[in-house]
Symmetry: D2
Subunit: 137 residues, 4 copies
């Protein structure tokens, strides 16, 4: 699948006393990026949850190369890198828009769960939207 | 009712680029203090929610007098200042433990709600625990 | 001054177990709205801080009328309601964009401080941008 | 070095609409645990920053095995797993205290930086406190 890019402006409340974006905040940026990624492919995650389907984070990773500052406009590029019947992996690259510096790289593995937090097959319409062939997974 | 006091140590992630605790964080401190206040009176808020009773914030206020810093030990004094059949008001005072300086004062008004977010009478055992006479409210 | 409006989409990480936006989060929304309000009038708050001028929150208030949910698009209307030589007061109204319901109203009082957190006169260019006459304050 | 364990009670504001602790929150728990780990060995991180020495996160990882809920008491076990002249790696295990279930495992790599965010040798007293021999790193 094609990577997709969104923009996020750093909020004051996301900085810490080091004067930079707190490292934990990028996981929320990744989450925002992931939800927009799905939306752009026609998958409305809020509706999915209303139907009792959750995409829960199984693993999260982030590598910090340079700091982001208050009011910076960041681009977050999201790419689907793995898709099975019950899991997906996405990777993220965060750049500062102004000069294009790569600040952060990360990834997350998500598991599809039902309302009892049991593994659940990723719904067919989601798999199709994500470009998976019927025969796969 | 007697005021009650808890201690909270400021986390790094609660500071902002000004080098102080972000003003929005005190509302979470108040929430922690409120839940401990209830626990000390014999009300387990987590159980209350499991029974379908919510105490939702209707109003929140905070006045900032001096900054708190990373790693400061804060005392949060909680006092129940009003209690009716369906609402309660609590006030909070935050001091830095070290020299006792008053940093922040605040208050919150809570409404008792059911699972459909409709007003609900505060359960009898909660009202008793909070010291309200049967005849009141 | 004319009120100004921005849009914010509710992030997943901003919700709590009640299924709604946590009450403390609105203070960060207000902050985002305030900074955009200043930017639209030609005041770049990030630059102001680089010059050693801070606008610190002295008081914050919020009244909650109806919940906001994950993925809701919110409009935050900001209005400057008071301006003196060293302080300003802003008020905020948050609506859900979809049906226009008023969810939250709030206000904040800000004090202009120097790098030592001492009161400092609001810089002339900021007061002009905010529409204050030379003779006022 | 011996692992060390602290306790953290889950705050309401740390949960999300899935009813569990938001995955990004564990990185703040790790940070709290790391700072207590250092304190127990005689290293006061707040003082270190006042002297212009920062321990910045280079990499962060977390694996989620089971959810934590509001009001759960968690134990966070911290272990120093690597120490060089300029970096350290710590690993974390989060259990629910009540029945001892392992919920989350994670790690972080920290770089020692000066106030200009340039690599800086970990101060001798910190290396000693962490049990490193003079000849190492």
């Amino acid at each position: 699948m094609e990577p997709q890019t969104i923009k996020i402006r750093v909020r004051y409340s996301e900085t810490d006393k080091m004067g930079v974006v707190h490292h934990s905040r990028y996981f929320s940026y990744f989450e925002v990026a992931r939800i927009e990624y799905l939306r752009n492919l026609g998958v409305d995650y809020a509706s999915l949850e209303k139907e009792g389907i959750y995409l829960a984070v199984l693993e999260a990773y982030c590598k910090y190369k340079a700091p982001a500052y208050f009011d910076d406009v960041l681009t977050v590029e999201t790419c689907l890198t793995k898709l099975t019947a019950v899991q997906m992996e996405l990777t993220y690259k965060v750049h500062r828009e102004e000069e294009g510096q790569l600040l952060v790289e990360g990834s997350s593995t998500l598991a599809c769960l039902d309302t009892h937090f049991r593994p659940h097959r990723i719904p067919e319409e989601v798999r199709k939207a994500l470009g998976m062939e019927e025969s796969e997974g």
